[in-house]
């Protein structure tokens, strides 16, 4: 995670074979569009109603998306080799026709023992115990069933990487 003056930057790798879902991810993890009119409105509201209120810092996600497990492994390796490993990896379990998310997670875990790995799936035929065995440690493993709110997931992801 990196930070500038206003925002913290969280690097997230997302792999899901469903384009609509990837789009929903990008929508939820991207920064809200800030037009000039919105900035004017926010400035007026602050000036007219809450002159002393502090503007809350929203996390900023740098999202890299792909649709196959092998691509996720390659991207994770490239990022690690480039000295900028991902802060969080989000994987679907079923991603035909390539390897499944569990195998991809297992390989990524070998590359980066500390990165939190989040499995988000519609259905997994891999029991949770096996997930824990193949992608240790349990503290760095998260599991969510679809459907879920990606906005909420984005907040969860931010809390995963935020210093406690």
């Amino acid at each position: 995670m990196t930070s500038d003056d206003e925002h913290e930057h969280i690097r997230v790798l997302i792999a899901d074979d469903d384009e609509n879902i990837l789009e929903a991810y990008l929508e939820a993890f991207s920064e809200p569009e800030s037009t000039r009119e919105m900035q004017v409105l926010d400035a007026l509201e602050a000036e007219l109603f809450d002159p002393d209120a502090e503007i809350e810092k929203e996390p900023h996600f740098d999202v890299v998306a792909c649709s196959q497990g092998n691509d996720a492994i390659s991207l994770a390796k490239q990022a690690a080799d480039g000295g900028e490993p991902f802060d969080v990896v989000i994987l679907d379990v079923r991603m035909p026709p390539g390897i499944d998310g569990v195998e991809a997670g297992s390989k990524i875990r070998e590359l980066d023992p500390d990165v939190p790995i989040v499995f988000v799936t519609g259905f997994s035929d891999v029991p949770l115990e096996e997930l824990r065995r193949r992608v240790p440690p349990p503290m760095k493993l998260h599991y969510f069933n679809k459907p879920l709110s990606f906005t909420q997931l984005a907040q969860d992801v931010a809390s995963m990487v935020r210093p406690q």
Binding site: A24, E27, E37, V40, T121, G122, F123, K146, P147, T151
Partner: protein, 622 residues
Amino acid sequence: MPLQRKVFLTLLLVFATFSALSYTILTGVISPAFDDLDVSMAQTNLIRAERAIQSDIQNLEAVTADWAFWDDIHDYVRGINPGFKKGNLDRPTLTNLGLDVMAVYALERELLWGQLRIDDEEHPIEELGIFAPDDPASGVLTAHDRLESQTVGIVGTALGPMLISSRPILHSDDSGPIAGALVMGQFMNEAHMARLAQRTEVDLHWRLLERFAANHNIDLRAIADAGIHLETTGSIVSGFMVLPDIFGEPLLVLHADTPRRISVLGEQTVNVAMLFLVVTGVCVTIAIWYLLRGSILTPIEKLVRHIKTIRKSGDLSHRLTLNSGDEIGALAEEFGDLTSEVHEARKALLYQSFKAGKADTAAEVLHNIRNAMTPMINGLDRLAKSFKIADELRVDEATRQLSNPDCPAERAGKFIEYIDASFARIKSVNKEAGEDMNVVRSQARQVEAILADQEKFANVVPVEENIVVDEVVGEAAHVIPKKARKNIEVEVDQNLIRYRVRAHRIGLLQVLGNLILNAYESIERDKKLKGHIALSALDTVVDDKPMVRLTVRDNGTGFDEDMGRCLFQRGYSSKSKGSATGLGLHWCANAVAGMGGRISAESLGAGQGAEFHVLLPAAQGG
């Protein structure tokens, strides 16, 4: 080639080989042994005949010695006992001694007395020719120069071969001096040979050597060297032996015929043995054939037919009972057990594959629907956020402060600017909300498409098969928890094994399991001390079609008329919420209808128990 034919041909081959071997041994080994016995017998006969002749010669020699070593004849020859001739040398003497010729010679070959008898008539001894001074035989017969001298054997005479013996005439104590010579002889005529034949029981003849050589193509020298020559002709073995004369020269051929009685007997024995072996072989072959057929071939054929029947019909529950305690019976039993296990495994596999198929389908549907719902949820999420943005705008407060006359003009201008910006913001949010609504609508259509896809699979007709009711009922009854079986008596009609229906096995299993489970739960709800569930079947005909009616009867809570009308409706349950465990009667009704049957229920009322009837098409054929 069928096993029976193979075994039959093998037995035939064994029998033929056995017969050929027996024939070869009997004719090649045993028959020649009988022939050898005949030849041996012929040889023995010939030797016996020759010994009989030698015996006659020895007797003649003994008689000759008895007379020659006698003082009376010694004196007579010396001329001092003239009365001897009258008292001893007369015709009865030859008759009594069995002689044909007798001659007494004094010294210097002087004939003192001689007599030759042929057919009881006296003839001069000169007719024999052997006493003529120039005949070589005369030299050794009519005079002896030593006390122990003797001439014994066979001699050829002008009247035929004769046994001859000659001794010097001595004192009774065998002392000399030699007074002369005594000669005695017997013809080897027919009468003599007949006596020999009677004595020896051998059919024997003799031929003079010259005549025999002229009539037979036999090497006489070889006979003389070998001593005996044997010839087998037809039913007789002829033996030939050369007899020498007193000089050791071949004179006669002794010929003895021996009937081949042993060979004939042996041939008969061989024939009987051969017949016995053939008959025995046929009997043994037939016995082995029937034994193999009864104990091995027929059971194996039954087993093969049984396997083919199972393969053709696919009915693994069909069992073969051979009632045989041997290995084939055990094989049939083991095969029966094996097919039963495969039958059970197939049912379990079918059930498992059904469940696995359902699980796969459920997993796939879950995955697809959840994936489709995710953008929907997030779209709704954004919609909610949009509405929240509109709610958070403080347009009301800006309007109120703007309407305040004390509001400074500069601030009022900023409120107006804020209200304009807020409306612009609401417009923008509305536009985004419209886009999000499109996403939600699109994803909802995707979910609908997934469900429509599932509907196609829901219409797949399950595979139907012929099912013995007893099997499915027995399996379905296991749905009753073990702990409850002490209080609930399940009565299964023993005749269920007779009923066969055409149905989907797993579907029927689930329907019956559901009905039995309902019955059990109904009894539990009624808190009866002793529950009773009866399972029975009945043949019936509906619309000219043979059907089987399966009935599950219980003594549980039953139902009233109003409940009866709703029992098979979708979503209806007589149980309290949360306690329903089965698939539901609505599902059962649909499943039975899918198998071409009907389901119905009846009860006398609440607390009176209930009967559920499942009507299914009866199985046709194998």
